[in-house]
């Protein structure tokens, strides 16, 4: 049945849970939309998604706020975001506009009404909390490409 693929499903799901990921990205776009951001760069999506979901813990070291990054998960997410967005577009949740020559991170994504409605229908407690998290993070931290770089590096950085 599995053709030599012995990984148990639970572990596969840990790494590749497409439906959940789609829902989480949708949640993020919804939250961003609430903050009056219509067109969102893919880089920003990666940025905020990683901050909230990948245990970017804030620690107080020497009374300074330092963010500890789990950069592996970020990088892995980076490889998957394209596929996720394609699926979302296919399902009609978002619209993507751009040219072949554009840099992937700069391509803008717009949440469609269908996507908005879908999210509101399926919003559970889990996603409510997630949305709140997103909102807080968007308030606290603005998108900064330098920080993005540092997150990818995996170094600690100050807020």
């Amino acid at each position: 049945m599995n053709k030599g693929n012995v990984t148990p499903t639970s572990i596969k799901l840990l790494f590749n849970n497409e439906k959940l990921e789609i829902m989480k990205v949708l949640c993020l776009l919804y939250a961003l939309r609430q903050k009056r951001k219509k067109k969102i760069k893919i880089d920003e999506i990666i940025y905020y998604y990683s901050l909230v979901n990948f245990e970017f813990k804030s620690m107080k070291i020497n009374s300074e706020r330092k963010w500890v990054a789990s950069n592996i998960k970020l990088l892995r997410f980076q490889t998957r975001i394209n596929h996720i967005l394609l699926l979302m577009k296919h399902m009609g949740f978002i619209s993507i506009n751009g040219y072949v020559s554009d840099r992937v991170g700069d391509i803008k994504v717009i949440l469609k009404t269908d996507g908005k409605e879908f999210f509101e229908e399926n919003e559970s407690k889990f996603f409510e909390e997630l949305k709140e998290n997103y909102l807080l993070t968007i308030d606290e931290i603005t998108y900064d490409s330098k920080r993005m770089k540092k997150m990818k590096e995996g170094s600690r950085w100050n807020v």
Binding site: N2, T9, S10, L13, K19, K89
Partner: protein, 637 residues
């Protein structure tokens, strides 16, 4: 200075020639070796050229060294010089000739030997600046004993000739006026060297004073300026160290005594062992506790992970049916190319997905349960350990109390006492070292102070000397007045008419007759008279205290050369025809010999003088100086 004896010596031959204090005549035939005696004296007193082997065959055949015993002041010296090698060295024995076996000689270069003789005569050498030979460069030349000696020894090739006082050798003749000044203590260019020495001394004093100031400030920094205070502190510290060492010894002794109480010791040792064992056990248990806590913490983290996984699975279940990912091709919005969906996860097939997800959910909840159970167990373990630890701690405190009471009786901790005494002693020792250093510096300062006062007194002397050096022209005039008077008197005695033109020149310091100097005249007889009168007047002035630099010896070789004999000779104008003049020479010499040593070498002296003063008569061949019948090796046997 007086010459006592001349000894020629070889391995097989030895002969001594004795000299009397006053008038000595050595007579003999030609080539009998009489002039050789004077030459050997000259050789011992530093003549630079050696005795020629080809000329003095007998001498160098039998002898290889020569000794000259002299008396300077009240000191006896024996000068030794080899005839065959080491021509530049003279050995000086500071003893009479008989005692040279008991003494080690001072072997020096000729120059240094001359310096030593000059020192003994209490005459300072004078330095001149002159041009080097064949060059425009200058060099320092010293007016030494050899230049004085030209006024003492007139050999037969100089007497009665224009070569008087080495005139034919310009480098030597230029020093004659200076030698003359040295004889009469008229030297004025000593002032330069005295000033040099004064500057040297003052500089040395300043340097020493600076060093002293430096040392004193160092002492001040050490706070050790007062020597007496330092010394008393040092004594105090010595006694303190003593007492501490004593008490330390006492402690050591008593601790050795007390350690002989065996039973009490054993109990104490057992108590100590038990206590350490307890402490070890307690720390073991505490370690275990720590490990368990760490395990619990990591399990809690794992639990968190499982919980979030559980949440994810739940949500996945919820939205599983809502989101449909179908198997169609997807179009890329940018480039519009078609992408095939590869669904190889079989849970995406709807029939299985819910079941699979539920199974997973169960698995996770089982895991969560398991971990919780494990955590509970760990907590139980911790509790048990805590109980054990508390029991042991109470035991430990009981033992501790017991040992404290025990050690109050036993008085065991000597070690700490000894250690504290040692540290006190060490710090005292260090202090002692600092104090001794301070005292050493005090002593050094004293030493330098003594040296400074010595140098300061020398400075005084030198300053006085400079003051005295300003030439007393009156003094010079007096000398020349005296010299001229006697020079003229002697010339008159030698039957020359004395006019204004007969004098000793005050600047050139040579005799003149009829306005012409001793280097201008030709007549041998006249020259001889002038020269002998000149030398005689110098010697005569010694009796009134002038010419203190003159050794008081006159060595003349063959004064009869220019005296005409009864056997007809040619060039009679050059000769002294008057035999009375010849007698007069001897009279003059005899007079001078009262206060000076005269050594005269002559073929045929007048018989009266010969009888009185002639000790040695040499004959030609083997009856001369080298005469086997006088060989002292043979005679002494």
């Amino acid at each position: 200075m007086i010459l006592n004896k001349l000894v020629v010596m070889g391995s097989q031959y030895k002969r001594t020639i004795l000299f009397k204090k006053h008038f000595n005549i050595i007579q003999g035939e030609a080539t009998s070796g009489k002039s050789l005696i004077l030459k050997l004296i000259d050789y011992c007193l530093g003549k630079s050229s050696k005795i020629e082997a080809k000329v003095q065959k007998e001498l160098l055949y039998k002898c290889d060294q020569v000794f000259l015993e002299i008396t300077i002041g009240n000191e006896n010296l024996t000068l030794n010089r080899s005839l065959i090698d080491r021509f530049t060295k003279i050995s000086i024995y500071f003893c009479p000739f008989e005692k040279i076996e008991e003494y080690t000689p001072k072997t020096v270069d000729i120059k240094d030997a001359m310096k030593i003789i000059m020192n003994k005569l209490q005459v300072n050498e004078v330095k001149l600046i002159r041009h080097q030979k064949h060059s425009t460069n200058k060099q320092i030349d010293t007016v030494s004993f050899r230049d004085l000696f030209r006024y003492v020894y007139i050999n037969q090739h100089e007497l009665g000739t224009n070569d008087f006082l080495g005139k034919s050798k310009p480098f030597k003749a230029v020093k004659n006026p200076y030698a003359f000044k040295m004889i009469f203590d008229l030297v004025d260019n000593d002032e330069e060297s005295v000033k040099e020495r004064l500057v040297d001394v003052v500089n040395q004093i300043n340097k020493l004073k600076k060093e002293t100031v430096g040392l004193e400030s160092y002492l001040q920094d050490l706070d050790a300026s007062d020597k007496i205070v330092q010394q008393s502190k040092l004594d105090e510290i010595y006694s303190e160290i003593e007492s501490h060492i004593e008490s330390k010894n006492r402690v050591i002794v008593s601790s050795e005594e007390k350690s002989n109480r065996n039973e009490e010791n054993r109990m104490y040792i057992k108590l100590k062992k038990d206590i350490s064992q307890l402490t070890n056990e307690i720390s073991d248990y505490t370690d275990q506790k720590r490990h368990i806590r760490m395990a619990i913490d990591s399990k809690k983290i794992l639990l968190n992970e499982y919980n979030s996984e559980m949440n994810d699975i739940n949500e996945t279940l919820n939205i599983n049916y809502q989101i449909n990912i179908d198997n169609q091709t997807i179009e890329c919005p940018l480039c519009n190319s078609k992408i095939n969906q590869n669904l190889h996860e079989d849970f995406n097939k709807e029939e299985n997905s819910e079941r699979i997800l539920n199974r997973i959910k169960n698995q996770i909840s089982n895991k969560i349960k398991l971990v919780n159970e494990l955590i509970k167990d760990e907590y139980k373990n911790i509790e048990e350990l805590d109980k054990k630890i508390s029991i042991l701690s109470t035991k430990h405190s009981i033992f501790d109390g017991a040992i404290r009471k025990f050690s109050r009786k036993v008085d065991v901790p000597y070690l700490s006492q000894i250690e504290s005494l040692n540290s006190i002693i060490n710090s005292l020792e260090r202090e002692k070292e600092t104090l001794t250093e301070g005292l050493r510096i005090h002593n050094k300062i004293e030493e330098k102070g003594n040296l400074i006062s010595d140098l300061e007194s020398e400075e005084e002397r030198l300053k006085n000397k400079i003051n005295q050096l300003s030439i007393d022209y009156g003094f010079k005039d007096d000398i020349f007045y005296y010299l001229n008077e006697h020079y003229r008197a002697y010339m008159r005695r030698l039957k020359y008419s004395v006019t204004e033109g007969t004098y000793i020149h005050i600047e050139k310091m040579i005799p003149f007759y009829e306005e012409a100097s001793v280097y201008s005249h030709d007549s041998g007889g006249l020259l001889e008279c002038m020269q002998i009168s000149f030398l005689a007047s110098i010697l005569k002035s010694k009796s009134v205290g002038y010419a203190s630099g003159h050794p008081g010896i006159l060595m003349l070789d063959s004064i009869s050369k220019y005296v005409g004999t009864l056997e007809g000779e040619d060039k009679l104008e050059d000769r002294i025809k008057d035999p009375e003049v010849y007698e007069e020479f001897y009279k003059i010499l005899e007079e001078l010999s009262e206060n000076n040593q005269i050594i005269l070498v002559e073929n045929t002296p007048p018989s009266s003088y010969s009888r009185m003063y002639s000790q040695y008569t040499f004959y030609k061949g083997e009856k001369g100086l080298i005469d086997e019948s006088f060989n002292e090796y043979v005679l002494n046997k």
